[in-house]
Subunit: 349 residues, 2 copies
Amino acid sequence: MKCVRCRDDAWVEVRRHNASYCGDHFIQFFHDQVRRAISHDKMFSKSDQILVAVSGGKDSLALWDVLLEEGYDADGLYIDLGIGDYSSRSRDYSEQFAAAHGRTLHISDMQQSFGVSVPLIAEQTRRAPCSGCGLAKRYLFNREAAERGYAVVATGHNLDDEAATLLGNVLHWQTGYLARQAPVLEAEDAGLVRKVKPLYRLSEHETAAYAVIRGIEYVVEECPNAVGAKSILHKEALNLLEQASPGTKQAFLLGFLDKARAQFAANDPHELRPCIECEQPTTTERCAFCRLIAETRDPKPRVARRYGKTRRGGDRRKIRAGDTATAGAVTAGVGEAEPPNSDDSPSPV
Amino acid sequence: MKCVRCRDDAWVEVRRHNASYCGDHFIQFFHDQVRRAISHDKMFSKSDQILVAVSGGKDSLALWDVLLEEGYDADGLYIDLGIGDYSSRSRDYSEQFAAAHGRTLHISDMQQSFGVSVPLIAEQTRRAPCSGCGLAKRYLFNREAAERGYAVVATGHNLDDEAATLLGNVLHWQTGYLARQAPVLEAEDAGLVRKVKPLYRLSEHETAAYAVIRGIEYVVEECPNAVGAKSILHKEALNLLEQASPGTKQAFLLGFLDKARAQFAANDPHELRPCIECEQPTTTERCAFCRLIAETRDPKPRVARRYGKTRRGGDRRKIRAGDTATAGAVTAGVGEAEPPNSDDSPSPV
């Protein structure tokens, strides 16, 4: 395999583009794709202050790196979710990157600020951990960015993440989520910050290759909560299709953005107002994050399983759904204005 | 495993309904689902004359059987596509069923009527065989039904077929096909006959179980052209998701019909007029079937591959696409009013 640019030995194959690249030309390809995303979707300019949502993983650190290399003014925000060793290691990698590049890394510690962690939220509310985690991150990214005066929050969602989310949304025809799945979510309200995904044209494999070639150290292991998550299954199904027909994921995502999203967006009216507790914008009286924190501190009484059991299991299922109905309500606002990448799946930042 | 109705040994498991059935109660379940489809989608009544599109396979013969058992006035139409032994065996099974039930089976023989067969169409037009085959069947089902005075054409598309088609349409955001994928396609024009799919709530496994339990003999092997077809890959991906989460296919299809299809249909205006050759309704001057037959009889000159080859294979691909552009144009009309179940995939009737 030879580099399509210089005919040197190729390091990375990009099958959907029918191309292979040597290290240097792959980095150039990567930059080209990011530049293309930024300009095609009018994400931000050199004068904007950007806050990168940093998890310590390959995607967010590759994103931060490429933005700095391109000359953007980009700081980082790390949210400590309290997921044991995994959180400490992720934080270390994030801090190392910030120090090596002489940039500011803001830290938001859920335990310190709210007295809760992701494992505690999952335990107390009996939601899938990724669900509470995603909601908390979306809320905190926005709030921290708004309070610190950043114009835009950039997240490391890549093509695989976005295609898997889209598949999940389409399998259940989550029309509200479909309306709001986009590489750019405008700040509809004074309290909302614009969200952008500059890596949405690059695959997971490519962000990993970029990080490796650039010598970026990142936390390699998956979040321990990700085991069995729906998004992993959706990625598996898409990989099967991509294998047989390279370019499937890209055509799926870009085709949606080009031809279908507007139809869903036109049918998704929603009005924002300040949360009565935290004053962040929301579609409901109290925002989903405040409800989540309240429920974690004061969990609903558990319904004993045996009353719900029937021969065919029908009622048992109903009780499970009822347990989480309030916290799981679909709303739009802070932590909600963008759809979750998948309600029970790990999100990459 | 016990039958959920009578606690006898179960023969068939229906995981998406969290149920298992003995033979008798499975047949009852099958009838219930067909009755539900017919009434929910207002497909037809006991006074309508129905033409069942019969292929000799499990789906179409199960459909014909259940409609007769339910007391509907249903004849069959078999289209001889000229696919060697496969076509002869399919025809035999169809004729045996018709004779055993004392019903009329109309035969439409492509070789006799048009001097072409599916293999010849594929060879001459260099389209995937399933593409020309699907188009020809849709055209002939409608034309034969209209000319013979039937009110409605019923096809054996099951839940797996419909979900796989939907996935294919969604992966490429074929908005025109999405607008027209439905269990009932109304006759928009005098020359069009209503199309219905009474098995769309039943899985492939269930139609096979029904045929076996009812003692229906059918052609078991797949069409030899189906090897490598996209719909098989799409079914594989959906099976992966269904395995992890039973009910995924049903939620995907029914959710689409319930929540999303109307949005695509609203953006799909098209006007029908008679084909200048066969006078069947079409959106183009000459209908897709007449163009297909013409192209088969008088193929376009082949572009030598070597001129199209480039180092990266880009132009080669373009030439392939150009070759079939005319015959592959997306139009709506006879053989076109309903979207193909997948353009390069076997269709079950």
